[in-house]
Amino acid sequence: MHMADALISPAVGGIMWGASASLIGYSCKKLKDNLDDRRIPLMGVLGAFVFAAQMINFTIPGTGSSGHLGGGMILAILLGPHAAFLTLASVLTVQALFFADGGLLALGCNIFNLGFFACFIAYPLIFRKMCPANSTVNRLYAASIVSAVVGLQLGAFSVVLETLFSQISALRFSSFLLLMQPIHLAIGLVEGAATAAVVQFVRQARPEILQPAAHTALPAALPLRNVIAGLLFAALLAGAILSWFASTHPDGLEWAMERAAGTAELPTPTGRIQTFLAELQQRTALLPDYSFTGTVDSAQEETPSWPAPDAGTSFSGIIGGSLTLIFVVVFAYALRFGCRTQQRS
Amino acid sequence: MSHHIVEAQNLHYVYPDGTAGLQGVSFRITHGESVAVVGANGAGKSTLLMHLNGCLSPAQGTVRIGDFPLIKTTLKAVRRTVGMVFQNPDDQLFMPTVFDDVAFGPLNIGLPEEEVEQRVTQALETVGAGALRDRPPYRLSKGEKRSVAIASVLSMSPDILVMDEPSADLDPQARRRLIELLKTFKHTKIIATHDLDLALDVCERTLVLSRGRICADGATAELFRNDELLSQSALERPLRMQNCPVCR
């Protein structure tokens, strides 16, 4: 459920970046306050483990398909919430940078969706409550399945909301919800079972390993206040950035407001430049008497917005777009050729 | 020059799971000596080495490095004196580039950047890995990794080098280069190894460990002629000292 840059708006991306960045900052601070040096390499290597563990599959009975470890829950169980959140965030960052899984702008969303709910909600509020130290195997399974499911359901819901607020996808809230939640129910069941199986093995083989995590201080009754404060701050920050963007950029605010109101209209280019360009084109037009002229003129003066069923604009767009593309390709070849000859000489 | 002495007295160590690691090990290694530590798997070689710079602390007994006993307050000084090369270079090379890795120790000592730069260059030159400077460790061959791991220790200019299985995983040529390299070092060397030919080449003295005890301590060439001792410790003569079936 990695969100991609292509599907989110800058506002949503920015807010979630702010949220994730403040969570990372918070976790780092928590860790710095009482860090056992030993855990620095442990966290890094466990992050790599989460990657590697995805190569190992097991058969899901009765389905023929296979499942594997997800990551969030097992990290939380082994490392405690703060260290697990940081580790997961680093896993997602590497995924975004190297595997183009998710994206740079969507990274904030992804860290929040996959990390926050697993590490700061599901683990402390469900897993730790359901499965205190020395619980039976059944309790362990139950706890890890329930917490994985809850974590993923919340994460999936958050994906739906972020996509919705971004308004790039045309999917309706209800249908997207119906698509995402059941899939993640299944994924949660599998991940929970896989986590429990691994934890059970470790409990038997090296019981002492699970102790340190169990002793680390929980986020005392969850720092909900801090989280909310962080979110608010992030929202304000994003709002400030957005309005700065809007003020430096003539039609940005209009655009943002229309966006929020749900209409899909795009702003008109500014008038002065248009008249200037209109004069310019009198002399430079290659196809002055093209049959689309009439329609476009009217469209131009009244509502030259993109969504209008306007053949002239589309046509100009296509011509101009193709030409630009050709420019880019020529540019690329020129650059490459230029660099090569430079290297040779 | 008493500060390059390594001395262990009656070392005992018990693993957390209750198995005995060392059961009364004592030895004294003087300045400039090169000593091989040999023995079967599980004889306690690595455990012993880990005591020499405080990665493990003994249940009983003491370690003295130079003029200091190895205790918590002297730990930092001892670690600067004793350079430890681990068995698996992947465990030792944890930084993103060779340069960063070799610079890790000097930076921790708190040296200024120019000095760090100089030490890194020198250490890499010594092991013949100057060209690898900006490469990421995972792109290196086993032999290159080993050289860089050694450089990462040399850059701290230790007086005593402790190595665990330095020739493991190396192809014959890389192994030969390593042996030549080790011979050029003037440091006090303590090398745990199964490679008895390497021990014969590099070390004039050998400690034979068996089940956590030292069962022999003497000149390498002599000990390796003692077949009874070797078979007791699950070893055999170095190839070079066996009768060659072809040229016999």
Partner: protein, 269 residues
């Protein structure tokens, strides 16, 4: 599994490319990172029906790829690997949004298809720029850039260590999987219990490795803080790169270049 092995292979490949020495490689990583962030933010800020105005933005990834001397194929193959999610969500747009938006000769194009194309364009632009960024910068310099830009050190250290041991652990896991598959038949991957033992062993090995790494760090004076020498200062070329591109992106955001060119050519202004 096959795909992960390929990922593993590819992962090193990007870093290899980053080892080259073109003028682009020599720029400060911060300049490249920030320019790419501005690029992405501007690209995703367009309306959902925008196509033409997005096209000029190809100039940036194409510039990085060309000047950085990166094989186009390398970026392309990764694009395909990353495609599923964007495709999955985007493909609903043509099905749901059927309102006619544009006429071209006798064809009517629905809003859904236009927004779908727009999503795909954004996808290609954003993903290829990030891949190109890594290929002309390398992971470790990106980490130092993050550190210099104020990311908490613990987090950056995590990134570095994780990236370093990714190779080691993927190697270990694939050896284990290989050894296991030699002794299991009929494609059975085993039940949950076997899975737990298998993955659990990998986990235990991993944790033991962490212990050894910690010892190795301690032996070289580690005191909880990983120190690194940081590269040279932000130079004039870096400022020029960052400001030049950012300015271009903002200009391209403000003026729909292809539409203007098209209108000039067709004389419809």
């Amino acid at each position: 599994m096959a795909s992960i092995s390929r990922h593993f292979f590819d992962l090193g490949h990007l870093d290899d490319l980053a080892g080259a020495s073109t003028p682009l490689h020599r720029l400060d990583p911060r300049a490249k990172l920030l320019a790419t962030l501005v690029f992405i933010a501007v690209v995703v800020s367009f309306g959902k029906y925008e196509i033409a105005a997005l096209i000029p933005f190809f100039v940036y990834p194409v510039f990085l790829i060309s000047v950085g001397n990166i094989p186009f194929k390398c970026v392309l193959s990764r694009l395909v690997l990353a495609l599923p999610f964007a495709l999955l969500v985007g493909i609903f747009n043509p099905l749901i949004d059927r309102a006619p938006l544009s006429h071209l000769a006798n064809f009517t194009i629905s809003g859904g298809w236009i927004s779908f194309s727009s999503i795909m364009l954004r996808f290609v632009l954003t993903v290829s720029s990030v891949l190109a960024l890594i290929a002309v910068t390398g992971f470790s310099p990106v980490c130092s850039a993050l550190l210099r830009l104020g990311t908490p050190k613990i987090f950056v250290v995590q990134l570095m260590l994780m990236h370093r041991y990714l190779f080691v652990l993927l190697d270990e896991a694939s050896k284990m999987v290989g050894a296991k598959s030699l002794r299991t038949f009929e494609n059975s991957t085993g039940g949950l219990r076997i899975y737990g033992a298998f993955t659990g062993s990998l986990l235990l090995r991993t944790m033991e490795r962490a212990e050894r790494i910690y010892s190795a760090m301690q032996c070289r004076g580690f005191d909880g803080d990983i120190k690194r020498t940081l590269p040279a200062e932000f130079g004039k070329r870096d400022i020029l790169f960052l400001c030049g591109w950012s300015l271009l992106f903002l200009l391209l955001r403000a003026f729909n270049l292809p539409l203007i060119i098209g209108q000039i050519l067709t004389g419809t202004m």
